[in-house]
Symmetry: C2
Subunit: 198 residues, 2 copies
């Protein structure tokens, strides 16, 4: 049985989702694929490249077209879809955020965000900056949200009726909290459209 590039990514995703990013090692992955660690290096030059391919897989749904017509609807849809991608697998947000340090530049999600902001009427250069701003927010929020989820599902067993873990514990819906920052962002864009935009 030949091992293909996609099989390696499949195996990596499986380990990621079941055991988390810390357990996603080349040796463990090789073991799961019933192969020697060195074999992986025929398919990928190094671990970083493998993680990049995993990140691409996680973000694949970002390619699909958006339904919303107006720019603010499209922006909201893209931001939510990005968050959904990151939340699909355990430690997905952390992996993408760690792996896309510089890779963000070529990310297709970033381009589409920027294009949508341009459509709103913001000059190209500023739209690029706005896209980054939104991206930083979505990544930061989702990494935080996901790590809290995992802390909760671990702590729920050891610490059942804990009062509150911090100033965010009382906020009800994670999605509502996400939307708050999103609305702050779109309001900021709208304000730039109102004022002198040049």
């Amino acid at each position: 049985m030949q091992l293909h590039r996609d099989d390696v990514v499949d195996g990596a995703i499986a380990i990621l989702d079941q055991y988390g990013l810390a357990d996603l090692t080349m040796r463990r992955l090789a073991g799961a694929l019933r192969v020697q660690p060195g074999a992986l290096y025929w398919h990928f030059p190094n671990k970083q490249a493998l993680l990049g391919a995993v990140a691409d897989r996680i973000l694949a749904p970002m390619e699909r077209p958006v339904a919303a017509g107006d720019w603010s609807g499209a922006l909201t849809e893209l931001a939510h879809r990005l968050r959904d991608c990151l939340l699909t697998y355990r430690d997905g947000a952390e992996l993408v955020s760690a792996t896309y340090a510089s890779r963000l530049t070529t990310s297709t999600g970033r381009e589409r965000l920027a294009g949508t902001v341009v459509r709103a009427g913001i000059p190209r250069e500023q739209a690029e900056l706005a896209a980054y701003t939104l991206l930083y927010y979505v990544l930061g929020h989702t990494v935080d949200e996901q790590s809290r989820m995992q802390m909760d599902s671990a702590g729920a067993l050891t610490d059942p009726p804990a009062e509150s873990t911090g100033p965010l514990a009382e906020s009800p819906d994670p999605t509502a909290r996400f939307d708050f920052g999103l609305q702050l962002f779109t309001a900021g864009i709208r304000h730039r459209l109102g004022s002198d935009v040049r």
Copy 2:
């Protein structure tokens, strides 16, 4: 010569700044302090705790009072100061962002940001959310900015007259780019003050 907790943090900061986060290992740090690796575990329970102490050191200037009187000035000042803290040492942004996954909740910088937003006239719960939003932006932006700086100073020797590295290469001043996102944020806050705030 007795080794104290602060000496360990000093040594860690020195290695971080000279060789980067990847080279900040317990063994290397022990070597620099002329001590066995195990000795560090008398002063800190594990590496994570050590990195937390390093992060606290990096963020120490956040405690100083702010000069600006109005809320938007104070917000801008705090955001800039946070960025400055992160840029002071090599890989500072990456270390803080990696180490403060859950530690953000108790961070003093976050509290002060939230307090400032409350002063603007936003209800407490929303102000907390806004503070997180700003924090995610500053961290994301600065990690990106700092990693680009290091890629440039490494690539400048191997790749002198490269055309452009991406859609951000033409933007002139990193500080101006930082301010753009910051203004987007404050405009968003201001918009919430204008509308029904409850």
